[in-house]
Symmetry: C2
Subunit: 220 residues, 2 copies
């Protein structure tokens, strides 16, 4: 594995790392809003997304200026473009947290999540939040092992989604169609947060190793 040091990335990666902290908080808060039927937290996640959007724009502008002014050589350009995509992934993870918070808001003052499903939704939120945090750690450590850890955590998400489907498809499911649809869409949002985390992990692996085969997950 090549150890690559790039001044330009040293400017950008810490900002992406900061963005992961904001997004991880949004994932955790939106899950808490669902589980504790907390409209205030739901509204906070929805309102705070404007900051994530602004951060994305600011980082993109920085990357753009670096490319435009410094006409980086091919390797550096590839890295800057990888960073450019990571900021879009992170912003999308913020949007998905907003979608989760909006389910909590839509059903308030009722609970969107029946008691039997609390555990699986709590775990999905916890796994998704952990993956965003793992992305931040990976950006900090720049250790390619961190990308492998993300793949392992993503397997947990897949298992949770399967068990969520099993619970809903049980003939004795008592909560009706509306709740099932909410739960299915929530599962999809959490799964997409996890997908974006894996894709970012792959991009960081690519930056660290220069191996383009690291990027296979993107096109799944």
């Amino acid at each position: 594995m090549r150890d690559v040091y790039h001044e330009q990335l040293d400017l950008i990666l810490p900002e992406l790392e900061d963005m992961t902290r904001t997004v991880a908080a949004a994932v955790r808060r939106s899950t808490a809003a669902l589980l504790t039927v907390d409209l205030t937290q739901a509204e906070q996640v929805i309102a705070a997304d404007a900051d994530v959007d602004a951060t994305r724009e600011a980082i993109e502008e920085q990357i753009f200026e670096l490319i435009a002014r410094q006409a980086p050589v091919a390797t550096e350009l590839r890295m800057l473009i990888a960073a450019w995509r990571m900021v879009a992934d992170l912003e999308r993870m913020g949007d998905l947290s907003v979608h989760i918070a909006k389910v909590a808001r839509l059903r308030y003052p009722a609970a969107a999540i029946p008691p039997e499903l609390s555990s699986v939704i709590e775990q999905m939120g916890s796994v998704a939040g952990a993956m965003v945090t793992q992305v931040g750690d990976l950006l900090h450590s720049r250790d390619v092992q961190g990308a492998l850890a993300l793949d392992a955590t993503d397997d947990e998400m897949d298992k949770l989604r399967s068990s969520q489907f099993r619970l809903m498809m049980d003939d004795s499911w008592p909560y009706g169609v509306e709740t099932a649809v909410d739960i299915a869409l929530l599962g999809r949002y959490y799964e997409r947060i996890a997908d974006h985390a894996v894709i970012i992990g792959d991009r960081v692996s690519y930056i660290l190793t220069g191996d383009p085969s690291a990027l296979a997950a993107e096109i799944r």
Copy 2:
């Protein structure tokens, strides 16, 4: 409105236009696979996605080479980066068609779509396919009116999704949870195809007018 002519874009936009034809076919075929319970068509959509992925990679590589070799000035760089994102949007629309085809495959030989829902799914597929075609037309005509037409068609998708939810939430819904979950996720996939079409329309508007406010939909 400025009339912008750029040689580099003249190389890239026709390839994006070709890609819209492939993706529009995938959207229509996956919908046909659902509605006619046709495993062969579903498998064809799933297999053909590798071509969409390869096209994405090839176009990205071309854009990358243009940026790396020609060190374009800021305006051209912005346009190339907009094109770079459009190819990722198109590739994602292909993935979403695969998700639709996989629902048809998962339920085969049973029909995933009950007769009462055929019409709304058919319309969603038709609107999504039309939006991909509109994107192709817009890339061809480079007429900013085409982006406005996309917004109007997207309103139809929103109405279809609402009516789909109404059908499922009716107390007399006879098809059980599994079908409701399939339909809800399919609705989400079609909606995301439409979202990506709107985002591409906005990017083309931005290229044509230079007005960054055209990009607002991306961060919704």
